[in-house]
Amino acid sequence: MTPVTIDGCFGWLHEPRGQVGRVGVLICPGLMLDAIRSHCSLRLLGDQLAEAGYWALRFDYPGTGDSGQEGDVEPEGGHWQAWQRSIDRAADWLVATTGVTELVMCGLLAGATLAALAATRRSDVAGLIQFAPIVRGHSYVRQCQVQAELQAGGPLAIAEQGLSIREFHFSPATLDEMSKVDLRKIRPRPDQMIGVYPRGPSKMLNECVQLWRQAGANVVTGEFAGLEPMLRDNILIDENSLADFSEVLAWLSRTIPPGTTHQVTTPALPPAEVRLAGCAETPLRFGHGGRLFGILCRPDCDSEMAAIITNPGRDPHYGPCRQSVTLARELARLGIASLRMDFAGLGDSLGPSGEENAMSHVYEVDRHPDIQDALDALERLGFHRFALQGLCSGAYHSLHGALADSRISALMMVNLPLFSLTDDVIDYLRWRNYSLRRYVHKFFVVGGWKLPWSGKVDVSSILRGWVVRAQVRASAMVRNFGSKVGFAGESAPAHHIMATLSARGVRMLFLFSPGQPEIDAFSQEFGRSGEKLAAYPGAEMHVVPGMDHSMAVASGRLLAHAYMLEFMAAGSARPSSAPANGALRTGDVAPA
């Protein structure tokens, strides 16, 4: 597969073996969480389509993934129109670049809706693949609205102000336009082949299928069971499988065969690049055989420092709510380059040989080799100073990456859940979001719909997480006692790690969400306010008001980014070997 850019949108072209084939498949991803959860499975779909003889193009709409533009600022005409235009341009590009004569539009959820609309606009679309399509735009808008209102704790003035949810802002006009979409009202061409894969029983979708059949389209419905991994929460630790597209591929090859005798001449593709104000982003493949992938964001000015932004959990390199993209572009404005990378077996990086089609584990895989490969690649590009940034498991891997490689001079860790990994801690992490204390506080003290429904609430998980956390706390108490009586002086992993990094001059920024259980592991070692960090020059800790665990809420995310930018700006002004004095502040004061 080859990274490409199409009018500022980033994408991947999956070439069939021998570069022959008359059919191109355009893969339209879902939005927000749906895009993140399905990223690896759609990569697999692209690969498998190519193996079956199809050209496949997957790409990010404007303001999504690695594409240009920002989601929280609507382009002229609004997001919905921009996304439809981008699909048409991507389809035109696929035809012009590969010489295919027929297209198949394939989409997931809102992407399926956009794909279906494109199929009716174009005369070259022979087929349509619909994964759990959203039949009525109104339903999707309503879902977004209800979720935003539950998280906000009350009604929002959406008709006047539009809707802000996750990385997007939708104007009232855009919401109105999206609400008017109804797939039952579109008429596919009589000769179009359509495969529909409903996720569950749906009266609306049944009506839609009937109406499309009446219009003359050849519509079949298939099972969604094998496709479930596309919509699975990436954090589920024990489930590594990606979606099974065999039924879809079998249907497609029967109905619209790829025509492998159709020889086309593929022009040399120009290097992919997204140009932005003040910086440029290019794909970077590195590591053994180029199996690892990241997006290099370089400021227009000369830069000797690069930050490596790691995967949050098992999410792809752009991160929840595109937070890694935003951070990269903000760093570039400070003159700092960055590489937002995928660890092996996540996002667009391949896992070990034989495990390419599975997601790798969130914690139990040693990520030092991947980080070292990234550092090597950046050094070859001329960078001399390096920082690591991570959220949750990304923070954990960053911490240990810095410990293993002396080239790292700065660390930014958000919601670091632990310093070292034991079996108990793995169990603890599985349920880390579910703090009984947090739940009780929200339920009995805060009350209402606001906060309890703004997070994940699962009673048995809460209880289990509480018990395991108590075990973690107890083991820390025993260790602290041992330390005081002289039996366990230097053995505490957290203090050993901090002492090592601090002595090496590594600057460290710890950011935590207020009330999040992650801070428990930190506070057991360094105090609730991080007062014991003073022993380690160069380390500072802040609690960021309004920041949730995955930085999905915009206000907390913006504040966290402000802390990180201030930290990096301060570090870039002095040599990496000169640590800051043991700065220690709790985070109720926003950086300038």
Binding site: R142, V146, L150, S202, L236, D458
Partner: protein, 83 residues
């Protein structure tokens, strides 16, 4: 009609909980929604799906609707809308 509204709501709750991998508590009218195992995304999907299935959206059509605390109150809102 009302029994079919109830059945549709319960089916949707079970379906969405399964899709979102939530551990659902035994459903009864006294079950507080906050204890049900559903989060805000689940509820948002359920409300949107119920509008598709039943043609009813009591939260969207009436600004003065009181927020249901229990599953029974949630179902009653829809049953009142269907009546």
């Amino acid at each position: 009609m009302l029994s079919s509204v109830r059945a549709t709501i319960l089916d949707q709750i079970k379906l969405v909980a399964e899709h979102q991998r939530k551990l659902l508590m035994p459903l009864n009218d006294r079950l507080p929604l906050l204890d049900s195992g559903l989060d805000s995304l689940c509820i948002a999907i359920i409300v949107a799906n119920l509008e598709d299935e039943l043609g009813l959206d009591p939260f969207g059509t009436c600004n003065n609707v009181s927020i249901p605390k229990t599953l029974g109150e949630f179902i009653a809102l829809y049953e009142n809308g269907a009546a």
